[in-house]
Symmetry: C2
Subunit: 216 residues, 2 copies
Amino acid sequence: MSRFKVGEMQVDAGTPLLMQGSNSPQLYTALEGMGLRSKVLPNGRRQVVNLVLPGDFVGLQAALMSEMGHSVEATTDMTLCVFNRSEMWNFIRENPKRAYSLTWIAANEESFLGDALATVGQRTALQSLAWAFAKLYQKGEALGLAAGGRMKLPYVQQDLADALGITTVHLNRVLKELRDRQIASWQDKVLNISDWHELTDMAMLESDHLPTRPLM
Amino acid sequence: MSRFKVGEMQVDAGTPLLMQGSNSPQLYTALEGMGLRSKVLPNGRRQVVNLVLPGDFVGLQAALMSEMGHSVEATTDMTLCVFNRSEMWNFIRENPKRAYSLTWIAANEESFLGDALATVGQRTALQSLAWAFAKLYQKGEALGLAAGGRMKLPYVQQDLADALGITTVHLNRVLKELRDRQIASWQDKVLNISDWHELTDMAMLESDHLPTRPLM
DNA sequence: CGAGACGTTGACTCGTCTCAACAGTGGTGG
DNA sequence: CCACCACTGTTGAGACGAGTCAACGTCTCG
């Protein structure tokens, strides 16, 4: 594995890592810090496709396709593990298990995006927010970034709003409702979930577990 | 390739092929006919994730993950090429090129879902519909299923509405607008595009070409 | 001939957007 | 050091897009 690692990279918050439409020679794995993937439409509106947490692989599209469908940027200082795109083919060829892993990652991502699509398409803003909080907390917990109902969430309201397909103004109102009803709050970059059951109920979460990877 | 093919299957319109949450032992490639992937929320609302056209691979999630995130059903009579899930690992191991192809398929799907997410999240109903028509026509053209601005689209309004995250009632109104403005119409299961330029303009399509697969 | 699925249209309601104002914060330059 | 500005979060009032409810027409099929 480390044969393919080119090095580590440190970037400041706000740094763009990959650009929509371009074709980077580098791929990354997030080690520390958080970021987001987004795409912007010609009319200037932005859709946040998903959030990047430690452990996430970034740039698979750049590796396989002629151009990236979205941009990736850091929202906090990040350290990333850097790979060379040109090694991708060797990476797959030399060990089928790794190829399997990559495919699993892509399929997993697809599965998540399907959920996100159902959220934006079928849930109300309140349900969407509950869904996002629940999903994030689940993932954070698995990564050891969350515990006791608390998790650091270093994003601005605009980021989450763009992810859920609503405006910051409305997100703010919905946040207030979740706060007033003592279900969850998100202030000073910290998510605080006080009523997990109510939250997941509101979110209409289908399964309470993250996708698991079957043994090969 | 044919070593992995178990056989062909014929199904009638309306037949479910894979069920959300289940774990089918079979995978398919669509040969003829059309279908759709969808997921339903606990409150009964349905999100159509995408449409299945000839050539599409169906069931990658079932193959790699413990359970399917969505269901797949046929909307017309279909013939499918059937593969055995248990052969998946051999399939990948024996030929890295095939592993690469699979990963490419998954990444491509992810890219599409990102677009769809941006559509549902950031576009108005009119723009969404234009986007869907344009995307479908592009794909149909590449498959030889569309020509001269015409393409068979054997779905009901409910299907498209669920794909775009709107109601049939509203879809109907928006269809009428597209018809009245002489941009495109969809009647009797046939899509008819009369003003491609206006349509793609309205859809805010970023690129006029389908994702291409780089040579390995 | 009746029942059900699909499409179409109207009137009204409701969720979300837009526009706007204001407060708190941190950064920058004079 | 402080005035200023940009960015973020918060809240209110009104507008608009899309949903809901309902009626009706057409078609297919038993």
